[in-house]
């Protein structure tokens, strides 16, 4: 029983990391129907930005987190402008291949500058473990939960209540109609990339803090997993990404807890396949009926 609860806590912490990355995937997909495979690498860049800020400039953790998020939102906007915008009216496959190219570009440029070896992410605050019975909750878990849930709440507020959020929803539903309302589609797409990338950066910093180790290829697997999470929840649907991330994280933690940690990734993909067989649009996906 204790093991189960312990693994659930780990799973929720891991899942909220996946959720943060998955949100960016799903938002970008929702607005330009692009699976942005470079998204996982933005997460990696975020971790490195925070790493340098903390270890060289000795900034406190939260300052590093916020600066990393800002830096990555800028990076996301630049990537969209340079790499994806010129292809917006091309075949979707062209943009997808470009995204893979951007992904490699980020990974190997980073490797050139910081070397491929893993680096130890500086522990920037003291750890406290809370023990309840045999269940240990570390302050890292709690921090991940607080930060990721706060960010998700902020995102929900932005999407539902602000003008930027409303224009994002309008553009993702119908670009032409949105333009006829006076919405600037380019600006809206930039805003989407900025927000999505900042969430990925936050996830990267949190993972660096959690596992204490970062490297230039760290974005590949979490990027893929987050993509799965987004698809599980229903790609393009924001609550779906958060939901999918948590499901995936908890599943993986339970599989590991049962002693099959080698099978963790396989199980993640099996879950994806099962959900796609049962409900191809994802758990929260729906087929919108249009009246003509």
């Amino acid at each position: 029983m204790e093991i189960l609860i312990q693994q659930l806590i780990n799973g929720i912490a891991l899942g909220s990391i996946y959720a943060l990355i998955a949100l960016g995937y799903t938002m970008v997909y929702g607005i330009i129907q692009l699976i942005n495979f470079a998204h996982g690498d933005i997460y990696m860049v975020g971790a490195f930005v925070a790493f340098f800020l903390i270890s060289i400039f000795h900034l406190p953790f939260f300052a590093a987190l916020i600066i990393a998020m800002l830096a990555c939102s800028l990076l996301g906007v630049i990537i969209e402008r340079v790499a994806y915008k010129p292809l917006r009216n091309q075949n979707r496959l062209t943009a997808l291949i470009t995204a893979i190219g951007v992904s490699f570009f980020l990974e190997y440029t980073m490797m050139y500058f910081v070397k491929p070896d893993p680096r130890a992410f500086p522990a920037s605050f003291k750890l406290h473990n809370i023990t309840i019975g045999n269940v240990v909750i570390s302050s890292k878990d709690i921090l991940i939960l607080i930060i990721s849930f706060t960010l998700m709440l902020i995102l929900t507020y932005i999407v539902n209540r602000t003008k930027t959020g409303k224009s994002m929803r309008a553009v993702s539903f119908d670009k032409d109609a949105a333009q006829l309302m006076g919405i600037d589609v380019n600006k809206t797409i930039s805003a989407t990339f900025a927000i999505g990338s900042s969430l990925a950066a936050a996830a990267g910093v949190l993972v660096g803090m959690y596992y204490g180790q970062i490297d230039p290829l760290m974005g590949i697997m979490p990027g893929l997993k987050a993509f799965i999470a987004a698809v599980i929840g229903g790609i393009g649907i924001i609550p779906g990404a958060a939901f999918g991330g948590l499901i995936l994280g908890v599943t993986e933690a339970l599989v590991s807890g049962a002693g099959y940690s080698m099978l963790r990734d396989a199980v993640a993909f099996v879950v994806l396949i099962l959900i796609l067989i049962i409900k191809p649009t994802g758990i929260l996906g729906k087929n919108i009926r249009e009246k003509v």
């Binding site: 224009s167 929803r169 109609a177 333009q179 006829l180 006076g182 919405i183 249009e290 009246k291 003509v292």
Partner: protein
């Protein structure tokens, strides 16, 4: 007020609009009639900036608007109700209307316009919290028009407002168009339902495969033998 001068539009190698010239004066209802694929929608899209004409000039209140991005054209007072309504089916009626006033930052103004739209379309007020996708076809048309009115346009471009509606609703929609016009908004309406369109318009253009084949006052066009045969059923 609005003038199209020798507009040419191509889709790839297809010459969709061939030298279209149209004029709409302040306060008028002007209609463009023609069959499917004649180019009616392309004309409206060129005006609202959704497609860029290859040549020709569009002027609005004396200013050239060809090549101006769509969002800036909305700002000048041209609101376009697109074909098939294109409401945001994933949002509530209220949110749809709010988006219609996207460029207005003053909340009091938005509220005032909202009341105005609800007055004109009481049914939208009843359903303001309902998901727009659940509205009936007629209600969706009203929402699309209400949404455009939220932008307080000087000229309203309507693309087939009667499409897919029951005859009684078509009647109602055209009544409303007339009322909107009487309240001071100039209207350019594209229709396949020539009979209805000609009954409310002052001026009419007949479009065939990208060219204007006939124009004049609504009465002149309605009494033309060709139009009678082709669009008015005898």
């Amino acid at each position: 007020m609005l003038k199209l001068d020798n507009i040419n539009v191509y889709y790839g190698s297809i010459h969709a609009l061939k030298g279209i010239s149209i004029e709409v004066n302040q306060g008028e209802i002007v209609t463009l009639i023609g069959a499917n694929g004649a180019g009616k929608t392309s004309i409206l899209k060129s005006i609202s900036g959704l497609i860029a004409p290859k040549s020709g000039e569009i002027t609005f209140e004396g200013k050239t608007i060809t090549g101006v991005p769509a969002q800036s054209i909305v700002k000048m007072g041209i609101c376009h109700v697109p074909e098939g309504r294109r409401i945001f089916a994933n949002m509530s009626v209220f949110e749809n209307l709010e988006l219609g006033a996207f460029l207005v930052n003053d909340k009091a103004v938005v509220k005032q316009r909202l009341e105005h739209v609800f007055q004109r379309f009481p049914r939208l007020a009843e359903r303001k919290n309902q998901n727009a996708g659940t509205l009936s076809g007629g209600e969706q048309q009203m929402l699309a028009m209400g949404r455009a009115l939220m932008g307080q346009p000087k000229i309203l471009l309507l693309d087939e407002p009667s499409m897919g509606l029951a005859p009684i609703l078509v009647q109602e929609i055209f009544e409303i168009i007339k009322e909107i016009n009487e309240a001071g908004t100039t209207i350019l309406v594209v229709e396949q339902n020539a009979h209805q369109a000609l009954s409310i318009a002052q001026k009419a253009y007949v479009l065939e495969t990208g060219k204007i084949v006939l124009s004049g006052t609504a009465e002149e066009v309605a009494s033309s033998e060709d139009v009678k045969k082709a669009y008015l059923g005898g």
